[in-house]
């Protein structure tokens, strides 16, 4: 896990004005360097890139009818013209897989980024301010953590008419506390470190410390949770669709395809369920692998330190 050449990336000693010996740029570059050298992480990143190309560029090349039901073509087995066969509406499964993936991926990335930004800022602020305010803010987080995300999501799905946008908002609202907890813990330990104390002594404002020291030094933590969040969000949407509580048609994602396919799993059209299943597993696995690799790298870094 160690990379000797990673250390050469660090700028020579020249201590900057804020007394930032362990400056933000250094830790980020070291992490990136290890990341680029991790075969597991790079392999998983390659898979993610391929998936994005498949879903967003694929339909431009492989043009199929995804709008109109064509009962003359229903439940065709894989073969010429339809590499993965057709479903019960006569719609090409390969094409449907591409279109369905768009909403899954859009959801995964939006939720992960939004919840990380909110959670990291909230956690960093809460940890920085401390005292009664921190205690109060953390009880809000505890409350949201006490009820399983999926349970709250089911309730909201039952109360409102969902669309992709509302699911993104809901999942963001429900998943930022996880990031928040971790970032706050890190901020609490950073607060006592010398470089932060030095910065405070030199008259840095809280805002400056927050932005220059806290956020960059928790980067390792929230980049890991972000990648896990992508996988979790995609999974949550597919489970919701599977349980029949997802957005109504014409909304398409891998979960709706699974649900349709499952109906046909036991009546001799098994090819309708496997493509969505395989793509879903690959996607979730790829994002979790990236997260796990990052986790290994950053924990190896912190033990070296």
């Amino acid at each position: 896990m160690q990379s000797p050449d990673g250390i050469t990336v660090a700028p020579p000693v020249g201590v900057p004005a804020g007394g930032e010996i362990a400056g933000p740029a250094v830790s980020r570059n070291l992490l990136l360097d290890d990341f680029l050298h991790s075969k597991r992480a790079m392999g998983a990143c390659g898979v993610v890139v391929l998936l994005i190309l498949f879903c967003f560029v694929g339909p431009l090349i492989y043009r199929t009818n995804q709008t109109f039901t064509n009962l003359a073509l229903e439940n065709l087995p894989p073969g010429a013209g339809h590499p993965l066969g057709t479903d019960q509406y006569g719609i090409d499964i390969l094409g449907r897989l591409m279109v369905g993936g768009q909403s899954s991926l859009e959801l995964g990335f939006s939720v992960a980024i939004a919840s990380t930004v909110i959670g990291a800022l909230y956690g960093a602020l809460s940890g920085m301010i401390g005292g009664v305010v921190d205690a109060f803010l953390m009880r809000i987080v505890d409350t949201l953590l006490a009820v399983p995300t999926f349970i709250l999501l089911l309730i909201c799905a039952s109360m409102f008419n969902l669309s992709l946008l509302t699911i993104i908002l809901l999942l963001t609202l429900l998943s930022w506390p996880y990031v928040c907890r971790l970032v706050r813990a890190q901020v609490l330990s950073l607060k006592t470190r010398e470089f932060v104390q030095a910065s405070t002594t030199m008259g840095s404002t809280r805002t400056r410390i927050l932005i220059r020291h806290m956020v960059p030094n928790t980067f390792n933590i929230f980049i890991v949770t972000t990648t896990f969040a992508v996988a979790d969000a995609i999974y949550a949407l597919s489970a919701l669709s599977f349980l029949g509580l997802g957005p109504p048609p014409p909304f398409e994602d891998w979960g709706t395809q699974l649900t349709d396919g499952v109906g046909n799993l036991f009546n001799s059209y098994p090819w309708e369920v496997y493509p969505a299943l395989i793509v879903l597993v690959i996607t979730v696995l790829a994002f979790r692998q990236i997260g796990d690799a990052l986790n290994d790298i950053s924990s190896a870094r912190s033990t070296v330190r």
Binding site: T143, I155, M159, L285
Partner: protein, 318 residues
């Protein structure tokens, strides 16, 4: 320890109040009025006014919250729109069955996860470690509803060894075992997710303990390796698992909704799912409150047990 306990219990009470506020807010987000949901769309304005007056729905929000807390503390979670029975009765009927399901699956997960983690720790850094870790990571990443369906396809449809679903009309815990083969898949599916967590925590805690001096001492005095592992290592490495047991409750509950929906298991998860489909809000919110409180209590118990079991922690927080 006493001060720590007081603080932790205080925090837990705050969170329970937080969960009550959360469910109260959700009740008020509920589309349409409660009166219409209970009395039907054709209810006359006079009857609605009477209903609102009886249940305090025309009072100010703080008063309503007070009434809500009062009801909840007296075990009154409202009446189900669909079943017409008190929510507390519906939940009380199902909780014992869930205790059986969750208990069995957690037990299975521990029985697999703990030895697995220990095995990985003993062989850590080798191919064996990677193979075991990789396998569970893949199983953990695959959506649990798909694992459930594939297992059904294999064991129920292809080989026809097991029952795929529970028959309707089960009213007792004993009824669950009328056909024991129906219990197999729900328990297995629910345990898959926990095994990955348990084995990974077990692995890292065992690796940490293996590096301790007392293990070296035990080896130096010529103790057999098997005894070192069972007498010394296992006991100490098991400690973090206690915390994980408390913390994993929300995940298990969420998994239970999906597994129970698939296998028609007559528990809280199935009730929750069908209530979500039928917009039966009193049931949803009552169940949420109970799950929230159970999680808080679980976390509190985990922390306390950890303190009791580990003298180092006990003295550090004293």
């Amino acid at each position: 320890m006493t001060w720590y306990l007081v603080r932790r219990i205080g925090q837990s009470i705050a969170v329970v109040i937080g969960v009550m506020i959360l469910t109260f807010i959700l009740v008020h987000f509920e589309p349409g009025s409660t009166a219409r949901a209970v009395l039907g769309q054709k209810a006359s304005p006079a009857r609605i006014a009477l209903f609102d007056n009886t249940y305090g729905l025309n009072r100010s929000l703080p008063v309503q919250f007070w009434l809500y807390c009062d009801n909840v503390l007296h075990g009154n979670f409202g009446i189900s729109y669909v079943y017409g029975q008190p929510v507390s009765t519906l939940i009380a009927q199902r909780l014992p069955r869930d205790a059986v399901l969750l208990g069995l699956s957690t037990l299975l997960a521990l029985l697999i996860g703990v030895p697995m983690g220990l095995y990985q720790a003993i062989h850590h850094g080798t191919l064996r470690d990677d193979v075991v870790a990789g396998t569970w990571f893949t199983l953990y990443s695959a959506p649990d509803f798909m694992e459930a369906l594939l297992l059904i396809a294999i064991f129920c449809v292809h080989f026809q060894w097991l029952q795929a679903a529970f028959p309707g009309g089960i009213t007792s815990v004993g009824g669950l075992f009328a056909d024991p083969s129906a219990m197999v898949l729900p328990v297995v599916v629910l345990s898959i997710n926990s095994v990955a967590g348990f084995s990974q925590y077990m692995r890292s805690s065992a690796i940490e303990e293996l590096a301790q001096d007392y293990i070296r001492t035990a080896r130096a005095k010529g103790l057999r390796e098997r005894l070192i592992l069972t007498r010394h290592l296992l006991r100490n490495a098991l400690l973090p698992i206690v915390t994980i047991l408390g913390l994993s409750l929300p995940n298990i509950v969420a998994g239970a909704v999906i597994a129970e929906a698939i296998f028609n298991f007559p528990g809280m998860g199935l009730l929750f799912w069908s209530s979500a489909l039928q917009h039966d809000f009193p049931v949803l919110l009552g169940a949420t409150l109970i799950i929230g409180v159970a999680t808080v209590v679980g976390n509190l118990l985990a922390d306390i047990t950890y303190g009791v079991l580990d003298p180092r922690i006990r003295h550090a927080i004293a």
